[in-house]
């Protein structure tokens, strides 16, 4: 049941965003799909707006969770394995 609710939430969110529905974020700003011209990409160019803003932290986290959980991957492919305890 828990998993079903989670999957439903994600599905609704993705579907709504891809279909251009409006949301409101914590600042009350409308969230809509829109075309972004090259000169409007100043915010997107910021370090903290990268999809992986800190690859070193991501690498460390993935090693920890790889060692303690049965699931792995998703972000990309490549990298070394380990015989972690």
């Amino acid at each position: 049941m828990n998993r079903l609710l989670i999957t439903l939430s994600i599905s609704v969110g993705l579907t709504a965003s891809l279909s251009g529905c409006s949301f409101y974020n914590a600042a009350g700003e409308a969230f809509t799909m829109e075309n972004v011209e090259p000169w409007q990409r100043d915010i997107l160019a910021q370090d903290d707006m990268q999809l992986d803003p800190d690859p070193m932290r991501t690498f460390a986290d993935e090693h920890i969770y790889f060692s303690k959980e049965a699931s792995t991957g998703g972000r990309g492919v490549g990298g070394g394995g380990c015989g972690c305890n």
Partner: protein
């Protein structure tokens, strides 16, 4: 490259209906883009270094991880990454055996690296120490304005494990550069063995000490992904990954107890009595699928940034999982920020996971299944991470420090909880 971008921007501007009203913006953008690109070439190298400390409660695993990631531009079309990792690991880890007060097993160390006892009973966890060296190289070459190819290689060496990998990723931008498509492939070869060499015969009795040769495993990963700019303050990503691995998947140190519950006549409480002990056995192949989606979004006048991701994972061992990850970065000033982190992870158990082989009739030998493991990591579980990071710009670099707490709860495993503390400090040096 700066010239190419400038020409592209001019092309877009020419197509605008209202040139006059946008001319000043475009001029600023062109200057800014050229300056940014020039700056990128001048600042073509950076060295990110970090020290991480991971420690589990109850004198279990502790790891000190030192990392150095060097990134640089060899030319306007070529970027290289060199990543070095050195892990120093020690502590105690559960073997999979029950915590028994009445064991008839004369136990020989599962790891060849020492052992420990709990409450004077059988050995249900072993002490270990190891060092891991990891090296990864990556070279990205831009074929043209819209396409790039990345080539990667990796090596990881421990006393009882070696891994060699290679990867290739192809990236294609849409003409408006708002969408990027990615296709990638990675292959790896792992060699697994105990420190004393060899691997135990699966589901053999531990005390028989039947050893086979080293284990080998080949893994293949394919990924298809798309990232898209959704609006001026939001970018999203969606990946599908399929992985297949063939060969030795068993953990050569993990064991399973044959045990029965016995009532203590004095206290009336039930406790495990271990009758025998077997090495675990896992299937010799594994097929995994994962769907991963993430989003970065900025809002508010001060530029608060949210990163959210979700991953659904499933494999043919019967394991499926859901992972949510959320960070929220709040600027404290123009140079510093604070960023809370929350992660939720939930997985189902592998089909062949067992707590133990329960045998209440000692006179009757148990029938062993084809595969079995009592490794707590294959049990049904929930993991919750909470943490916070502080970051600030320093002269010529960026400093970050974080603290996190992780708690995993397992449904049936003998050790049904793991608590861990993570401390990390990092400094990224930018070279002018």
């Amino acid at each position: 490259m700066a010239v190419v971008l400038a020409v592209a921007d001019v092309g877009v501007i020419k197509n605008m209906n209202n040139i006059k009203s946008n001319l000043s913006i475009a001029t600023c953008t062109l200057l800014g883009g050229a300056a940014q690109q020039a700056n990128a070439i001048e600042n073509s190298w950076d060295l990110d270094s970090s020290l991480l400390y991971y420690s589990e409660d109850d004198d279990r695993v502790s790891v000190t991880k030192a990392m150095a990631f060097l990134t640089g531009d060899l030319s306007s079309d070529d970027t290289v990454n060199v990543n070095l990792v050195l892990d120093t690991m020690s502590g105690a880890t559960p073997t999979g055996a029950v915590r028994s007060k009445n064991s008839s097993v004369s136990f020989s160390s599962a790891s060849g690296a020492g052992s420990s006892t709990i409450d004077g009973g059988s050995v249900d966890r072993v002490n270990f120490s190891d060092t891991r060296l990891g090296i990864a190289l990556n070279w990205t070459h831009s074929q043209d304005r819209l396409t790039s190819i990345s080539y990667g290689g990796s090596l990881s060496v421990e006393k009882d494990y070696q891994s060699y990998g290679a990867s290739i990723n192809y990236n294609l931008d849409s003409e408006d550069r708002l969408t990027t498509y990615t296709a990638g492939f990675a292959g790896s070869f792992d060699e697994i063995y105990r420190k004393t060499d060899g691997t135990p015969e699966p589901l053999s009795v531990v005390d028989d000490n039947n050893m086979f040769s080293n284990g080998e495993r080949y893994s293949y990963d394919f990924i298809l992904g798309v990232s898209k700019v959704l609006n001026r303050k939001t970018i999203g990503q969606l990946n599908y990954t399929i992985s297949y691995s063939d060969g030795y998947h068993t953990d050569p140190y993990k064991v399973i107890s044959e045990a029965s519950l016995v009532e203590d006549t004095d206290t009336g409480e039930f406790a495990w009595a271990e009758l025998n002990r077997y090495y675990e056995a896992r299937p010799d192949s594994r097929l995994r699928h994962s769907i991963y989606t993430s989003m970065a979004h900025q809002y508010g006048d001060t530029g608060e940034t949210v990163h959210a991701s979700y991953r659904f994972y499933t494999d043919d061992w019967g394991i499926s999982s859901n992972t949510f990850d959320l960070t929220h970065r709040t600027p404290l000033s123009a140079k510093s920020y604070i960023e809370p982190h929350f992660r939720y992870y939930q997985q189902s158990a592998a089909d062949f996971f067992v707590h133990s082989f329960v045998n209440d009739d000692v006179s009757t030998p148990i029938i062993l299944p084809e595969f079995a493991s009592a490794d707590y990591r294959l049990d049904e579980s929930v993991g919750i991470t909470t943490g916070i990071e502080y970051g600030t710009k320093l002269s010529g670099g960026n400093f970050r420090a974080r603290i996190e707490f992780i708690n995993w709860q397992y449904e049936e495993a003998e050790y049904d909880e793991t608590k861990a503390l993570v401390l990390q400090v990092s400094y990224q040096k930018l070279f002018d």
